[in-house]
Symmetry: C2
Subunit: 478 residues, 2 copies
Amino acid sequence: MADTEDDDQASASGLRDADESGSLYDSDGEIKSEFLDELKAAIDSSDASLVCARAGSLHEADLGAVLVALDPDERFRLIELMGPEFDFAALTEMDDNIRDEILAELPNRTVAEGVRDLESDDALTILEDLDAEDQAEILEALPPVDRAQLQRSLDYPDHSAGRLMQTSFVTAPPFWTAGQAIDVMRDAEEENLPDSFFEIFIVDPAHRLLGNIFLDTLLRAKSSTPLEDIMSVDRRRVEVTEDRQEVALLFQRYNLVSIPVVDEGERLVGVITIDDAVDVIQEEADAEVKALGGVSENEELSDTVWWTAKSRFVWLFVNLITAFIASSVLGLFEGSLQKMVALAVLAPIVASQGGNAATQTMTVAVRALATRELSRLNAYRVILREVLVGALNGAAFGAITGLVAAFWFGLSGLGVVIALAMLTNLIAGALGGILIPQALDRLRIDPAVSSSAFVTTVTDVVGYGSFLGIATLWFGLG
Amino acid sequence: MADTEDDDQASASGLRDADESGSLYDSDGEIKSEFLDELKAAIDSSDASLVCARAGSLHEADLGAVLVALDPDERFRLIELMGPEFDFAALTEMDDNIRDEILAELPNRTVAEGVRDLESDDALTILEDLDAEDQAEILEALPPVDRAQLQRSLDYPDHSAGRLMQTSFVTAPPFWTAGQAIDVMRDAEEENLPDSFFEIFIVDPAHRLLGNIFLDTLLRAKSSTPLEDIMSVDRRRVEVTEDRQEVALLFQRYNLVSIPVVDEGERLVGVITIDDAVDVIQEEADAEVKALGGVSENEELSDTVWWTAKSRFVWLFVNLITAFIASSVLGLFEGSLQKMVALAVLAPIVASQGGNAATQTMTVAVRALATRELSRLNAYRVILREVLVGALNGAAFGAITGLVAAFWFGLSGLGVVIALAMLTNLIAGALGGILIPQALDRLRIDPAVSSSAFVTTVTDVVGYGSFLGIATLWFGLG
């Protein structure tokens, strides 16, 4: 799966063509419309050499962005016109829907041709979402070594280290000297080396990982030094079945640039590099933001209306149930509401303020659980802190709301009642906001996805219940 | 600013002591309580050698996590007991409050000693939050070269590339051969080289950046090849004043491992590595989650109750105003509410369902703006999509809510009214959720921070207004 073109390393590292791409985007970071218009014109007139002149020297990331900006039929035409000049790595730089749409249009033969020049992790990204039939046909068209490697990677579970890793890396036995290792690399065929690498791995004859040596260490060592004297006895590694989120956490915690992947027999089978980990970090952050907003982590801007509406329906349905629960609390006090309509006007304020305060607490809790800042070690301190914050703001907003309500309806008792209800609800919101995510986390349920519905139910029920309950007692409306 | 200990590169790359740290955490990812108890006992008995035995071999990230898990006075005692064995890099692995608390307790002399062994970017992290007096005293105690370098970095604006970069890197003139470059590095004093590096930069006599060569390319080249023949003519670089968020975007887009930093004269002044960019990516994601939840991006679990309550007050105050605006809409229909109390019970359902649907749309919009997936190029398509999704779910939830309401209150007209209001509000919510973030973004206001208050106001006002308005007309309550 190694590249055979000399200039590809520079390209893979994003260092070629920066001049063109520097001027590819306007000051808002969008692709310049002049560039797009010229490219579209070249595609329209089926001018292959003009298309190649425009798009052939783009970095894969920029080429991916350009594809996304084109109309669906233009995307396919561009790839067709560029022929072998089209860098399939560009297909890894867009969301799944657009990639799948493009791949569905391309003959499997073309995809197989394009995929064979890629690093194994990029090839995997392109192959993994295809249906089994297309996958088999493309694999069939690849050289046996590549096919076997890709097939093995596809057999690892989704979201595992095995799906993330790249399977080409450089190994050496411990008894080689630094000079020997350098000579071997210098004389190696390009296609037997990865496109770019930062370290070599020291393995025993059974391919078990003994340690690693970063290239700068290798360079600084004397030629005659045996590798085993300069290798780090690297015990930081991940199993091929490890979840990719755990892998990303290791990269973040230890500022790694790469981590070796081993099978159950401690044999080296791949290496995950930081750029893949960055994608995972980004996707996890994305998933968390979406989960908190009640959106599926898989939702993309390119999804169809029907799919999007269906996927959001579930969350809204859960919310509808909680809204009915809250309204049934209002229903309990129908008599009071009838006697004093001001209560109906003010009740939503208590519920809304509690909901917002609880969301603040919940956001902090969900974040801190994700980053492991919140743990059993500091749980009590954090709970206490949140309750105190809730009480302070409850008192402050109780006072403000009480004054406004008393003046609005000319009824000082109403001010006292709403102030007490506000204080109660902000404390309840703080407790709900901090306890519910932790409880869900202990139950191994993602707190980002599920906390919000529970928390809002708490603040709606307590908000309506406390306000109308206290009012009913205070004004003797029961 | 380069380390003088031989084993520090392994440590900086997170590859030493993995064995200990592998067993430092329990299966929930928390530091094992046995480890903490033993360490606390060693601190209590002021047994310096025992403390060093326990904590001396920890990776800086683990040592940082251990410090956070200790009580405040134990943190200071640990550093004191470890003396020169304490790795100050651990202080970069915790939140600002805890770091500042620890630094405030340490004599400036000790901080200066600890900082001089660090990479310049780590030293900067420790120094930048100190007050000017302490900063000056610590800088004074450093060797002149380090002092000048740090002082210059501190002069760059907050959140700029200059604050992120490390100022030690390897350069070579273009006319050297690969063999010459390797020999020079091999013979260089450890302290004249960075702790670890992946590439060398080719500069002209005025130190202007001409290109770069990754170490694997250098290793593969023939000894006699001039560097200028193998260098990438690297035009991808950032200015020292560039915002760090833009820098992080470049890393993500082009899968970079490092990027050179130049001054206004195109002279090479530093290099930013991916681990620093990962921190920025993480912090930006963190800021976005918090902003959407109505929490300041600077809020940490270690903040005081008072500071936290104050910082959250602002957002809650904005929400209170929007809640009063919504309630005043309810107030307009006091007559109708009095005549038909069922309206007061059902109105919050319409508002809440609209609010949730709008939040889904807003989350997608804010996310897509942050990742640049939503731009002028696809704005119309996305707006249309959201409105259609809102209409579909509005119709679905209108039907469901209408049926439930009609049965609950035994009044089929009420079902029709709430169904119409629900449809109206979910379309309004979709429009608000997609247009408001884009409008704020054009006005250069962070949509993550401000969208939610506006969007909720829209769905509350339209929810209450449409439901009570249609009801008043339908039942002739006016």
